[in-house]
């Protein structure tokens, strides 16, 4: 029993810093906040049960994200059963607008606020509208800062495949965001 408790503590230590990434990854997969939470709970439970199988504990992050992805794939119908866009809109409607301040600099005023919200919405939509094969690596690598190797392990793909998907995904994003992202000064 004591050993089991220690196992739980160690797992918890690894899991806690990953919870934000886990939830956002689940959102990218389900596109629904409620389903994302269900997916996170299921994946955490599965990972906890398989924790003993992980030999290299320093590879917890890609290992765990792979379990989450496989959980989604195994029960894709269940995790895709509800409408998508309205829930996402609600999620963003509830968020604190101060998070958007980093996007467009610090110029105050209502117009700037509107622009920030619009740009934030466009980037989120562009990311979520990417085909899954591009959306997941782009999110993991650029949104969450995983290395190419970690993304490859999380998605069970060769690193070369991930690199080409990242390239292609970013190209699509670039095209879709043209006209919304301010062009930098020379």
């Amino acid at each position: 029993m004591l050993e089991s408790a220690h196992k739980g503590d160690r797992f918890e230590q690894e899991l806690r810093p990953l919870m934000g990434t886990t939830y956002r990854y689940a959102l990218r997969l389900t596109k629904n906040p409620d389903l994302a939470q269900d997916l996170v709970q299921d994946a955490c439970l599965k990972a906890f049960q398989r924790w003993g199988d992980l030999r290299e504990k320093d590879k917890f992050r890609p290992w765990f994200l792979r379990i989450l992805y496989n959980t989604f794939i195994d029960e894709r119908r269940r995790f895709s059963r509800r409408g998508e866009s309205s829930s996402l809109d609600e999620r963003f409607a509830h968020e604190d607008s101060k998070h958007g301040e980093k996007l467009m600099g610090t110029i105050p005023g209502p117009e700037q606020e509107l622009l920030k919200k619009e740009l934030r919405g466009k980037i989120r939509d562009a990311l979520d509208d990417l085909p899954e094969q591009y959306r997941l690596p782009v999110f993991l690598a650029y949104g969450e800062g995983l290395s190419y190797e970690e993304v490859a392990a999380a998605l069970d793909c060769p690193v070369g495949t991930i690199m080409s998907r990242l390239f292609r995904g970013r190209k699509i994003l670039r095209k879709r965001l043209a006209g919304y992202v301010p062009v930098p000064a020379q």
Binding site: P33, H94, E95, G143, V181
Partner: protein, 260 residues
């Protein structure tokens, strides 16, 4: 390298994984070529904004606690619930659903009838957290309302505002130190035929389910419902304050925002 070659390496360059000799060539090309420099900066900005997604989508309140507590205590229970859900999904057993609704109705009526001196809401809350027997029988948990209130106000660092307004009909009917979430203060109120309990604790209990965020003035509340009872949660100072009530959610929000 010409422009096309440089642009084919642009993401790797931004990610810092180009080889040193490639990095040097790309850097010198970018210095000399305004078009590629503009592309590079644009791509770099888009990358930076993608990174910001983590600040737009914070972890839902309570999710981490629910997950952790399910790992420690509710593994088997969760699994069983999941199996029940899958059974209903597969079989569409509406007859079984109807049976469960009837059973729940029967339990609710029974709970109300047998409540005696214990308010149904209080009993419901305590039963859910396995402390009913402790509260009923244990003298060390029966303390004065004043003591509970003082403890609560100390946890908040502010006063409980009572009475709210003339005619509001809100009155304290009892106080306890409750054992869920440690030894936490709990007050029970009556208000216009409804009951309300207020708990102060350090973190959200794992069984509470999902919450929706609601702003009221300068305060942020998180609302949910458990078996037909309204649950409302807010931060007050360093403490987490949690209301349970059988009153409608709108009324509970009004009362909560007045007394905290």
């Amino acid at each position: 390298m010409n422009c096309q070659e440089v642009r084919s390496f642009i993401y790797q360059f931004i990610d810092g994984i180009t080889k040193p000799e490639q990095t040097a060539v790309i850097q010198s090309h970018l210095q000399a070529c305004p078009g590629c420099r503009r592309e590079y900066r644009l791509e770099r900005d888009i990358g930076a904004r993608l990174k910001d997604t983590s600040t737009w989508e914070p972890l839902p309140f309570g999710l981490e606690t629910r997950v952790i507590s399910s790992l420690h205590s509710g593994k088997q229970e969760n699994h069983s619930l999941r199996q029940i859900w899958q059974f209903f999904s597969r079989q569409q057993a509406w007859v079984a659903v109807a049976g469960i609704v009837l059973l729940a109705l029967g339990l609710t009526l029974n709970l109300t009838r047998n409540s005696g001196q214990v308010y149904p809401l209080l009993e419901h809350v305590l039963r859910d957290h396995n402390v009913l027997n402790l509260v009923r029988g244990s003298a060390d948990l029966a303390v004065s309302v004043a003591e509970v209130r003082t403890s609560m106000e100390s946890a908040w660092g502010s006063k409980l505002i009572l009475p709210v307004q003339p005619g509001a009909g809100l009155e304290i009917v009892g106080g306890r130190f409750c054992r869920f979430g440690g030894k936490t203060p709990m007050l029970v109120f009556k208000s216009n035929g409804h009951q309300l309990s207020l708990h102060v604790m350090k973190e959200i209990p794992g069984s509470m389910g999902k919450f929706t965020m609601v702003k009221r003035g300068t305060k942020t509340f998180y609302t949910s419902s458990v078996d037909g009872y309204q649950v409302l949660m807010t931060r007050q100072g360093e403490a987490l304050s949690l209301f349970f009530s059988d009153m409608p959610g709108k009324d509970l929000l009004k009362v909560a925002s007045q007394i905290l």
